[in-house]
Symmetry: C2
Subunit: 376 residues, 2 copies
Amino acid sequence: MDFTLNHIDPTTSARAGTLVTDHGIIETPVFMPVGTAGAVKALHIKELRDDIGAQIVLGNTYHLYLRPGPDIVEKAGGLQKFNGWRKPMLTDSGGYQVFSLAAMRKFTEDGVVFQSHIDGSRHIFTPEKSMDIQRSLGADIMMAFDECTPYPCDYKYALSSMELTHRWLERCVKHFAETECPHGYKQSLFPIVQGSVYRDLRIRSAEFISSQNADGNAIGGLSVGEPAEMMYEMTGEVCAILPREKPRYLMGVGTPANILHSIALGIDMFDCVIPTRNGRNGMLFTRNGIINIKNEKWKEDFSPIEAEGSVFADLEYSKAYLRHLFVSKEILASMISTIHNLGFYMWLMQESRKKIIDGTFGTWKDTMVKQLMQRL
Amino acid sequence: MDFTLNHIDPTTSARAGTLVTDHGIIETPVFMPVGTAGAVKALHIKELRDDIGAQIVLGNTYHLYLRPGPDIVEKAGGLQKFNGWRKPMLTDSGGYQVFSLAAMRKFTEDGVVFQSHIDGSRHIFTPEKSMDIQRSLGADIMMAFDECTPYPCDYKYALSSMELTHRWLERCVKHFAETECPHGYKQSLFPIVQGSVYRDLRIRSAEFISSQNADGNAIGGLSVGEPAEMMYEMTGEVCAILPREKPRYLMGVGTPANILHSIALGIDMFDCVIPTRNGRNGMLFTRNGIINIKNEKWKEDFSPIEAEGSVFADLEYSKAYLRHLFVSKEILASMISTIHNLGFYMWLMQESRKKIIDGTFGTWKDTMVKQLMQRL
């Protein structure tokens, strides 16, 4: 996997780059819609490709391991063929979902024993197993198996968890090197910086992760409930250490404001369920601020969802109609708000890239952060 | 509203016609997808228009009256503008849904008092009120307020119910004549033949309905549980009486086989929730038969949903992937099966029309009925 830095913003640390994978080229900064079970909820692959213009989609190893199972996805020729997307994909390691979703989980040095949230069946994830599953799923970018600490987290736990994550990383790297993509294309492995909100741990972890010389590096364990300022501080510290010439992925972030701030700190890749999950709950992100479409105030507002919007749904449907669909619990409500919000996130990333290339990202970002987070 | 009979099949009573409304031209025989609350479930308006090629959509007066309310739809400029469809629509009278959905209902000569299934609030529908609501909703075709008898239904009840339906029709016709479309275009009113499964009642009702000289005529109270042969017999009797030069609409029908048989009897218009509702439950209609996509047998079948299918989803997704989406309860499962099934129904209607024009409908229909109802 090849990464080229095209531009660096003169007033911030924002970067515009190009990432080349065997399934296509990705222009950064990039937002990856979350396709948990091999599908971005309420969205056709065609819409993801043609209407939204997504460049890369994330799949969740925990979900895909349980259903349909890595054997089925491997037989299909990998996730990109199984769901018809055919463009770049990234899979997480499965660790985070075990911690947040599994009915039971028990940590050992070896890995995590857990019970499925679906049927209670017992399973084990180890660093090696996570690599094997991700090999079968065949994502272009695989993630190291780590422990994502919660917030708050005491120093002692954060330290020992970080050390476990580092030992697991060494096992991931070894097993990754000993195995191959069963689909015949190249897969990359990204290690993950941990260390909770402790500056010294984050620095130690960033240095260890950098020493791996991976194709790209990720920052985990943030956006888990800590104040935004703390997240930005940790991200800044880590970006100062991670290699400049490799893509940097801030996992699970975030709101439009979180993303703009983090781009300014030097982050290239993002993923988050906010545009899709909050969309399904009636929260719409627009160029002028945030709309709660279920609100009574939109009942007779027959204006388009967003007149300046970039996807067909923005002009085709009115606010009053979308509100009616939410009130009536129509599936179409989720479909429209998902396509709208992801369209907005894609626009935000494209604009960010343009402004970085223009050299005006810094001032543009400050105006946008205020505007985008207003409540309409 | 203008109806032209273009062709009549030489060996059956099947007809190919053209219906001109103020919102566009409809080629018959036609199937109307059901858009209960102003939306065909799990489908974008754009898909209905561009991918499926629907010509006319049905809206349910009961649902739209309760949510968002006829005042909102009227302010939007009618249902065609409210949901962005902008092409022909038909609304039912609200009667059938009151009988099947309302929490409580009580009949009088005047109308039906009922409680909303949503919040238990009390309402009344009368023939005049149904006309007023449908005027506000602004559908091109409005339906008369009738009582749809269940099956089985004793002769005495069927007779008195039919007589009530006829008296209600006279009130509908009167009130319809005294009111106007608030949106400035033409609306038509279709009366409905009732009479349960009793030949003499059906004949009497068909004669009474024919005497109204309406723009089109409907047959109600069939496909409510009676044997298919009984439905065809009643439909045939009624078609022999209804005016030849007006469109004939068989309400709530049906499976692909039901539709082909009824086209052969002289029916021009259909609506049914089968393609959409059964689709959301995993039943797919194809050119070669019926697929229960949740079945284990499709688990590793990576072939397209239907290689000869007419909508993008048929080729873009595999059977194994669609099965996985159903098992994982993904919204996309409903989206794909809905677009597939409606695409199939549209194809079936277009093929029927071609065969009628070619003069080969009769033999084609017999082959198709057997083929389409096979279980794959």
